[in-house]
């Protein structure tokens, strides 16, 4: 039982980060039809940016803010320099562009930061709390609360504000959105900025638990892609549920089978979903954009 609780808590923690990255994924996909494989790099920039700003003497909360700003700038540049000029290109070309952008960001991080692993102090200390025999880091609750807060904020934005509704309208029907006067280019830019910000926050929340380095983005983007497909591409609730499920699955696979199967679990899930139910758990009809 203690074992089960232990795996559950670590699964939820990692899953929450997958969920946030998948949420960013969904946001960009909905606004622009682009599957952004550079999404993981925003997480890296969040964590690494905070680490290096803090090392330079900036107080931690301010360092975190700077890191989010850095990621948002990266997101805006990605949209402005790489995506917008290729707007007419097909989905495969756009995917390759985002993979290329991820490589560039990773390369720059290697040069301007370094290649070491880094840790941030837990926001409420690093002493484990014991719950039913499982040792849980207080940071776990920060991760879960942060995920909940971001998801609620997104939900409010999407359903209660005109700008959020314009974003959903653009996702639902780009042509009609342009014909009612929505600046769909601006909507795409906004999606990249918000998405990058969410990714950076995820990176900051998780770094005290999992550490960070320049190279963590690749695997995260892949996992978030699996989470999105599992939940149903383009569905924000699906992204969160898919992320949490994938995190749990990995934790159980690693715990009960062998930790070397952890990453394989994600790939197996991807294959099974694609074979058995290509539109995912919460997917609508068929995905028309891919």
């Amino acid at each position: 039982m203690a074992e089960f609780l232990q795996f559950t808590s670590s699964g939820l923690t990692v899953g929450a980060v997958y969920a946030l990255v998948a949420l960013g994924f969904t946001l960009i996909f909905n606004a622009s039809g682009v599957v952004n494989f550079a999404q993981g790099e925003f997480v890296m920039l969040g964590g690494m940016g905070t680490v290096f700003a803090a090392a330079a003497g900036v107080p931690l909360p301010l360092a975190a803010l700077l890191a989010v700003a850095l990621a948002v700038v990266a997101g805006l540049l990605l949209d402005g320099l790489a995506i917008r000029p290729a707007r007419q290109a097909g989905p495969i070309v756009l995917i390759i562009i985002t993979i290329g952008a991820a490589l560039v960001i990773r390369g720059l991080a290697q040069v301007f930061f370094d290649k070491e692993f880094h840790k941030l102090p837990g926001f409420s200390g690093d002493a484990s709390i014991h719950i039913g025999g499982a040792a849980v880091l207080p940071q776990t609750f920060w991760v879960l609360a942060g995920t909940l807060a971001i998801f609620s904020g997104m939900w409010w934005f999407m359903t209660r504000t005109m700008t959020g509704k314009a974003l959903r309208a653009t996702a639902a029907n780009r042509l009609a959105a342009e014909l009612v006067g929505i600046d769909t280019r601006l909507v795409t830019t906004l999606a990249f900025a918000v998405s990058a910000g969410i990714g950076a926050v995820a990176g900051i929340l998780i770094t005290p638990i999992t550490l960070t380095n320049y190279d963590i983005g690749t695997m995260l983007a892949l996992k978030a892609f699996v989470a999105s497909v599992l939940g149903g591409m383009g569905n924000p609730i699906g992204a969160v549920v898919g992320g949490l499920l994938l995190g749990l699955l990995e934790a159980f696979a690693a715990g009960y089978l062998s930790s070397s199967y952890k990453d394989a679990a994600a790939i197996v899930v991807l294959l099974l979903v694609l074979f058995a139910m290509p539109s995912g758990l919460f997917g609508s009809k068929s995905v028309e954009r891919v």
Binding site: M162, K165, A166, R168, A169, A172, N173, L175, A176, A177, E178, L179, V180, G181, I182, D183, R185, S284
Partner: protein
């Protein structure tokens, strides 16, 4: 009000519009007739700015707008009801209508919404349902209502009668006539040439990307070529 001159557009190497020239004067209802693939939809999309053009000019109320992005043209009051309704399916009926007024945030009050609801009461009944749950006719009402929310000066309509029961078509057309009386100029693309010519002040015929015929609604109703090709007489 609207002057289109020498407008051309192409899909790859296929020419969809070959130098189209037409005018719509303030207060008119102008019908644009033509068979499938004649380029009617392409023309309306080019006027709205959602279809790239190869050459030619579009003037709206004296301003050259052919380089403007679509949302700028909407802000000028150049509003299109696109082919096939194109409602925002997952969003509620009321959100669809409110998005129609996206470029008019200042006047985005209750009044235009009430006006749409009084013309199409069924939309009020279903205002919290997703647009996808509406029937085809109701979706067309929603598309027209959404365009009304934008405060149109010139309304472009692309086949508003397509796939609808005659009684709904009649209702939509009477709304168009009413809007026109209130000062909205209308450019109406239709395959239902009879219905369109009944309400049109003038009409153009578009064939394989070129204007081949124009005249008053009555003239075209009496024209042998139009009668044979578009009225089935």
């Amino acid at each position: 009000m609207l002057r289109v001159a020498g407008l051309s557009s192409a899909y790859g190497r296929v020419h969809a519009l070959r130098g189209v020239t037409l005018e719509v004067e303030s207060g008119e209802i102008v019908a644009l007739l033509g068979s499938n693939g004649a380029g009617k939809t392409t023309l309306l999309r080019a006027i709205s700015g959602v279809q790239p053009i190869k050459g030619g000019q579009v003037h709206f109320e004296g301003a050259a707008i052919e380089r403007e992005r679509p949302h700028r043209r909407v802000a000028r009051g150049l509003i299109q009801v696109p082919e096939g309704r194109q409602v925002f399916a997952p969003l509620s009926v009321e959100d669809n209508l409110r998005l129609g007024a996206y470029r008019r945030r200042v006047v985005n009050g209750i009044e235009p919404l009430e006006r749409v609801y009084s013309i199409f009461p069924v939309l009020r009944e279903k205002r919290h349902s997703p647009a996808a749950s509406l029937s085809g006719g109701q979706q067309q009402m929603l598309a027209v209502g959404r365009a009304m929310m934008a405060g149109p000066r010139l309304l472009l309509l692309d086949e508003p009668s397509m796939g609808l029961a005659p009684i709904i078509v009649e209702q939509i057309f009477s709304v168009l006539v009413e809007l026109n009386k209130q000062g909205v100029t209308i450019l109406l693309v239709e395959q239902n040439a009879n219905a369109a010519l009944q309400i049109a002040t003038r009409a153009y015929v578009l064939e394989t990307g070129e204007i081949t015929l124009s005249g008053t609604g009555r003239e075209l109703l009496g024209d042998d070529r139009v009668r044979a090709a578009y009225l089935g007489l």
